[in-house]
């Protein structure tokens, strides 16, 4: 999924740069949360990539605004959970059909990873209200 272009017209101040980048990446993540509800491979992958872009931006800008650090840490946990689910999807796609017990284990692990991601996202939504209202 390609990163959207951030509208930086007229930006000549780092504070405004932070706000515009974070607002754009946050919007992209919100727009893809349906992937988390559907729990399908592609939807989860797209949502994970959007969260990764948001997390990288927050980590980078945390040097300028420390309040962003806590959100970036939670996003890292969310991304770990989604990454582990993605790894299981990739292995399940190539696993020999005869390995049914391993498949069952991987599917159960995958669902647990997605559950963890859903719980992380629920917590994050509250934390991110400050970003939604641009209070950075």
């Amino acid at each position: 999924m390609k990163a959207g272009r951030v509208d930086l017209d007229g930006v000549d101040d780092v504070r405004e740069l932070v706000e515009r980048v974070v607002a754009t990446r946050l919007r992209e993540a919100h727009a893809l949360t349906s992937g988390l509800d559907r729990r399908d491979k592609q939807g989860l992958h797209d949502f994970r990539i959007a969260c990764k872009r948001l997390r990288y931006a927050l980590e980078r800008f945390a040097a300028l605004d420390q309040s962003l650090e806590a959100i970036a840490e939670r996003l890292a946990a969310l991304q770990d959970a989604l990454g582990e689910a993605h790894d299981r999807d990739m292995l399940l796609a190539i696993l020999p059909a005869a390995m049914t017990a391993t498949q069952r284990r991987l599917r159960a692990d995958r669902e647990a990873c997605v559950d963890r991601a859903v719980a992380n996202w629920t917590e994050l939504k509250q934390l991110m209200q400050a970003l939604d209202s641009h209070q950075i």
């Binding site: 990163a3 872009r53 005869a98």
Partner: protein, 122 residues
């Protein structure tokens, strides 16, 4: 914007350091480092594409990050398979484990070859 110029230079130097370490002695840890450093830098360049004339650099960083994809995938899937095979199904897993080992070896060598040709310190 001084902050942006300094940040771009810092991330560029970090990627060059990670690249050099990886091509000197490729291993899983160094592959991970060069990959994440590249992805972070790419994300910065995408974020500021509207005010920074660094399109050629962005394309080069994107190529560098993509060069590590296959090696990373093979490594991760291999480790996951090793740790999750059900005891009774070990014999079914052996051919896949062998194939993934070979993929990991070839993909790491290819990534190393591609990254050897790239430079990020200029």
């Amino acid at each position: 914007m001084k902050w942006l110029t300094k940040t771009i230079r810092r991330e560029q130097r970090a990627l060059e350091r990670a690249r050099r370490r990886f091509v000197r002695k490729p291993n899983e840890r160094r592959l991970h480092d060069v990959r994440t450093t590249g992805r972070r830098f790419l994300s910065l360049l995408e974020d500021v594409a509207g005010i920074s004339e660094l399109e050629r650099l962005r394309r080069r960083v994107k190529r560098a990050a993509a060069a590590t994809d296959a090696a990373r995938d093979a490594t991760i899937i291999l480790r996951l398979l090793e740790s999750s095979v059900d005891g009774a199904e070990g014999s079914f897993a052996h051919p896949l484990l062998d194939r993934l080992c070979e993929q990991e070896r070839i993909a790491t060598r290819t990534a190393c070859k591609e990254l050897r040709r790239m430079r990020f310190d200029s």
